[in-house]
Symmetry: C2
Amino acid sequence: MAIHGAWILITIISIWCVESKYMVYNTTSKTVPGKLNVHLVAHSHDDVGWLKTVDQYYVGSNNSIQGACVQNVLDSIVPALLADKNRKFIYVEQATKNGGMCMHDEAAPHYIDMIDQTTLGHRFIKREFNFTPRIGWQIDPFGHSAVQAYLLSAEVGFDSLFFSRIDYQDRVKRKAEKSLEVVWRGSKSLGTSAQIFAGVFPENYEPPSKFYYEVNDDSPIVQDDMELFDYNVPERVNEFVAAALSQDKRVNALYSTPSIYTDAKYATNEVWPLKTDDFFPYSDHINAYWTGYFTSRPALKGYVRTMSGYNLAARQLEFFKGKSKAGPNTDYLADALALAQHHDAVSGTSKQHVADDYAKRLSIGYEKAAKVVETVLASITRSSSKTNSGSPCLLLNISYCPASEVDLSNGKNLVVVVYNPLGWKREDVIRIPVIDENVNVKDHGGNKIKAQLLPLQNASLVIRKYYSMIYLGKSPSVTPKYWLAFSASAPPLGFNTYFISSGKREETTIATPSKNHVEISSKGKQKEVIKVGPGNLKLVYSTNQPKLVGYISSKKMIKESVRQSYSFYSGNSDIQQASGAYIFRPNDTDSTKLGDGASFTVLRGPILDEVHQKISSWVYQITRVYKEKDYAEFEFTVGPIPINDGIGKEVVTRISAPMKTNKTFYTDSNGRDFLKRIRDYRKDWTLDVNEPVAGNYYPINLGIYMKDDNKELSILVDRSVGGASIKDGQLELMLHRRLLQDDGRGVTESLSETVCIQNECTGLTIVGKYYLRIDPLGEGAKWRRSFGQEIHSPFLLAFTEQEGDGWANSHVSSFSWMDTFYVLPDNVAMITLEELNDGKVLVRFAHLYEVGEHKDLSVMASVQLKKVFAHKKINKVREMSLTANQGRAEMEKKRLVWKVEGSSEEAPKVVRGGPVDPATLVVELAPMEIRTFLIDFD
Amino acid sequence: MAIHGAWILITIISIWCVESKYMVYNTTSKTVPGKLNVHLVAHSHDDVGWLKTVDQYYVGSNNSIQGACVQNVLDSIVPALLADKNRKFIYVEQATKNGGMCMHDEAAPHYIDMIDQTTLGHRFIKREFNFTPRIGWQIDPFGHSAVQAYLLSAEVGFDSLFFSRIDYQDRVKRKAEKSLEVVWRGSKSLGTSAQIFAGVFPENYEPPSKFYYEVNDDSPIVQDDMELFDYNVPERVNEFVAAALSQDKRVNALYSTPSIYTDAKYATNEVWPLKTDDFFPYSDHINAYWTGYFTSRPALKGYVRTMSGYNLAARQLEFFKGKSKAGPNTDYLADALALAQHHDAVSGTSKQHVADDYAKRLSIGYEKAAKVVETVLASITRSSSKTNSGSPCLLLNISYCPASEVDLSNGKNLVVVVYNPLGWKREDVIRIPVIDENVNVKDHGGNKIKAQLLPLQNASLVIRKYYSMIYLGKSPSVTPKYWLAFSASAPPLGFNTYFISSGKREETTIATPSKNHVEISSKGKQKEVIKVGPGNLKLVYSTNQPKLVGYISSKKMIKESVRQSYSFYSGNSDIQQASGAYIFRPNDTDSTKLGDGASFTVLRGPILDEVHQKISSWVYQITRVYKEKDYAEFEFTVGPIPINDGIGKEVVTRISAPMKTNKTFYTDSNGRDFLKRIRDYRKDWTLDVNEPVAGNYYPINLGIYMKDDNKELSILVDRSVGGASIKDGQLELMLHRRLLQDDGRGVTESLSETVCIQNECTGLTIVGKYYLRIDPLGEGAKWRRSFGQEIHSPFLLAFTEQEGDGWANSHVSSFSWMDTFYVLPDNVAMITLEELNDGKVLVRFAHLYEVGEHKDLSVMASVQLKKVFAHKKINKVREMSLTANQGRAEMEKKRLVWKVEGSSEEAPKVVRGGPVDPATLVVELAPMEIRTFLIDFD
């Protein structure tokens, strides 16, 4: 910690050796006025997976990679603490023994996952030790988010937050002006009500050089046994004092904790500088921007995000039926997800075998959660047999869904149960592969509904075949010919059932692919452009040089020239600083454009139009425009990234429009608040622009947008990626990276993901989506927020088969757990509904809008708990801190109130929802507010 | 351990992790008949200095070299043992915490040091834990000595001895014929009375591959927590069984110890093969004979041997005066010496900084012991002032002795106190540097005695100047011109005083150096040879091509043609197997001869003649022939060994005579028994001769000799060296080695010792001595044994100055602690006389001759304790085991008696001394017997 007043905080990653002989120095276990008080904080720092897997770190196996054994730390620290009551130790993580708390990354995780994983840890600590942590300790993550500050620190009741990695230029300035310690107000909406005292270490989180004790480190140990050689207490004390001292004062060193340090700081009653926004991007060197990891391991990032949504939905279903402690439940998935938030997990910065371990855990968790889903849906729909009920269909991204690829010619119906985990009524297009072209779709009332068959294109079949071999070890037995698309709806927290049967197509149409589609104008001339989209939204494509050129939304009165392209940066392979898992360092600010003017194939139909483009031999894109949706969906297939030219590549997509954006764009903070970004600029200091591309990248979890005087152009993403606006009127997302060098931050592997069949390996191919929409100025938030929730929580599909048509007679075909006439307000999402192991139910509601974000929706909202839980009797509701380890009121009472520079009157008044009346049970939510409740049901 | 019967012993160097969950296997903590019983022996293996120093290993510092922290082992093992009472652990060493017991080397230590260091450990264990070890565990030393087997195993009361490193060819044969487990009868003289059950591991001491648990090793740990990933108990059990199983039986694995294993073996009542002699040399590969370390670090080896003698003498003096617990005592030196016996210490196989640490400890120990000597001698001689009394003179080998280099022109006398630590009356030539040529020497009766001044030659002065800078950091203030030599005598365990004063020389003569000394024969012709030596013994030198050509002892009627030379082998630098600290691998069987025919300078005098030869620019030799001694002394100065040709060199000296030795020669075992060696031959197997030089090297501590039908040619050494007889009639000693490659056995340093002034470093120069004598056949033993004791225990000199001649009036000038008319028999030495910290006195007498070694002296001898301790009253005498941790009778009673192949009647009858009559207190000693007593004095 900076010397601010007269405290120094020195961290020590170490284990004491307990010795019976010692030299007595004149120090106390308390801070001493008038002396330079040096707080020695001994702490663990266990990466729950980095160079080794979490379990390997715990049990101490695979030590040839890294000598580390957490259980030995635990076994040795306890006697050391017992031996001297003055000693302190902070155990930073819980995950090392099947707990759930890690030091999560702050760039790549979604805020719901951050809350979940922190809750897991905090409740574990509360349950096992009856202790409520007071301090945030994010010393390793590679940059720090606003959400971490206000949500995961202030809102969990912390009194301070410590971390170390901020931009080296920022640090220099803060050291000089003594502003390493600040009050950080991370939320514009929650303002002073959710600010936190934050301390940045003067260096990286290592202790002063020569006092860094990790396995095999070269710092000399304090050899305090006078009977042995190399006794060095006096020298080490002198070195310590020298390291600590920069003022002419006497030194008092004490075993300390961040809590003790925080209290000492607080007791000074000082006024602290104000910090807003966040600490992204992070750079530790002139050419070392840690912005590559925003995209590193996109498949893992996508998997984590998919599992996050699945977990949320599965927990809801688990709650409805009652959680099974013995049988399968969602705990494993929750654990795996928590672990995956670690700053070397979803960040993409672990070794390959460790990344595999995270994925394996998610996969096991998913299997268990899928069993829960299957059982609950079978029970709720009153299926007589559980067989096949709820068969999941997770490989849709490679066009593979065995449950839907069934032969219906024998008269069977394919029953599709569509569960909606959102609190709103919802309608969405479902796309599943089928093997038969003669199919019809009926709703739960038995009415045939519109459906569309889209022939599976060869590019998709190739991916399907290759990756099913990789994932399943075998090729699928059948090959579907079509995607069947139809529009499904489901009530809030409820489901609906659809039936697919074989027979003469009635409401089903087949889209015929047309290559380089040409239309003839009324004047008999070949049109230079074509419009794609069966509904209000049209994408305009040039046919000469086939490419996207325009975006027209007649409903929104938008008509915009739009371009879209793919390019790659060449990764720098300079051994001084290469581009790698952490660091994005392109060879050049210029990038290489891929396949401009590629030919395309158009598939049209009543539900959606698709444009298929082979951009290059290793980039394929399907653009979808839905009749009922006012956005365009881009599904990209990127890979294997070729490296036979010896050059690593970082693939980006760009969307541009002739908008005067004045260097400004907006990116979300962990999927929650949007922060304003200005190219080549930092609010906190005068930026030396050394990396004009990498230095302008920011993490994106929900989306990125830009605006001009008239409109907003937004892109939403399906996983965390890096994004930027390198030119005015242009947004870019980095979608995939494959690099040939290690970037020298410890992983000692190059980031070059491959998949292998036998010994034949190829670069990993990524299939993902992003979404584009243009709104009139001030209206974009509604889509970003509502559709953002839909991306996170898609329909959960379950399949079963049934003989004949009698399903509706014997089953429940449609149902909502909420009151039939109730939906959540448009500005509120239920982000948690979970039965805890003690039987209590954890519920969180989140207001989705910031103050001023939307003219109608940035207002106080109300949720009627009785209607949300219409089918249950609420016994007791207790509002809790965000991580549910203490009562909210109790937390508010204890919280330290820090003084901030500038008068407090200047800070805008903060509005929050009022207390919940036990009679009415109405929950008010102010903009950006998240409220957490433990509910007892009868 | 070999599968012999149905036991396997598997060693595990490991720490248990204590886990609460486990899988129950059907095993017991006992051996089970009918199953293959696999004894799992968890043990420590802490090198008390190898890559790190002993203290660094203990506290866990310097972990960048090697991750090892013994106190952590101790801290973790105790809870692990407490957690499961079935668990066992053997803690192999004690030295890690200022104890004294290491796993000593078996090639380079002297048997007295082996006894001392083992005693230190055993008595520590007895005192702290009231436990008497039963098992020898020498799993790491690089070959195994007969003395280890019979003396340090059988005679300390062990029931078995385990080790692993034997010649790879030997191992193959033993594995095949199931003779890895044997009864080892190491002593020809003590025969069946001192044999031991010995087990050789079937591989090196590592457990089966994949079960080798050391820091950062790749063996997978047993991950036994089913809730974590990589749970592998079933696989590991299967692998374990596969590793253990080579018979079709069921396996029972148990936590075990060597004791349990030994008892199980013993219970089978089997008959074991007999092993005699030793397991030298050790080779682990066709070109990897571990015979280089017999000589590696000759300076350290010399220092250890010098300190061994000093320690023996200092302890005697300490006993005479009464040991001080508070003040300086000899304990530190004893500890340092014990440590220095470690198999990476005196062996010369540690890293350089660790070797420095051993030397530093010896140096500190010496300083403390010298204080004891000074105090005791001052007290005993009744010196009024302690000042300067007993000033030691340890740097005589570089011609530096500040105490004797004093100005006597002011009338002062230099008082020289000569202490004789042997039990025999003794006369020896003392040589000390003096600055004045006008000196006389008087005995304690005031009589002037014969003295001889030998001008210090330039070669010696160069060494003196350079090494005093290195050792002391400064050049001596004066430069002595002469060595003063005179013959001194001292009673057994007593001292005598001599006085050196300035004045006209009376009985003192100056030897004038004569270059290439030429004598004219009576016929007026230049003699072709000259004879050197003022007494009975003459060395004959050719003058044409100046070199030694003959040896004439008129008294012994010996006249022999003798040659002596220096050569070097070029160390192989093949990276597959280079010559290095452990391994001797010459490039070629041929060596390069150094300076044949070098010119020489002769100094003659009444006491001794010296021949100075500059053999080459880096080899210098002084040959001394004393008037009263019937041996020649060779003092060699070897170094800096040049390496600017990029070739490492291993320097040998050779003595040859026209003797038909039929490939046969004799070398000692740790300075005790002599073993017969036959070139290119092993008694236990048919040797494939792959290394005709290195494979014929043996460790030498006392000496090496060869014989023919008429005579014996013996060489005795002043430290441990490697030696061989590569040709009939020739003996060679390796004196120094400097190599440029590491030999791949873990040290990762090349053995290239240097000394530095500032940053200027040169190769280390070695000054040492060896001694040559030729006897009629059957008469060599007397010299080897008696003079061997004199080499180990030279006169201890102390110096003081006195004004005038009144010393005798006020001081005791001559004294023996033994009865004035008593001396020990010629065949007995007192090898220990030590006051223990509990006040008891530890005494050991050793018979110096083997059965049949000498016609008169290989007989039962008697020592009269009352006369030995003539000045003290003996209260109680208790005979103890060799390491004095149990009564001898008790030990004999407990000892397991093993059955040996061949009828026991065939074994020669063993004679031992009878019980000590408490009235007469006469100790009988049979050939080679060592008897140990604890004596209470009143």
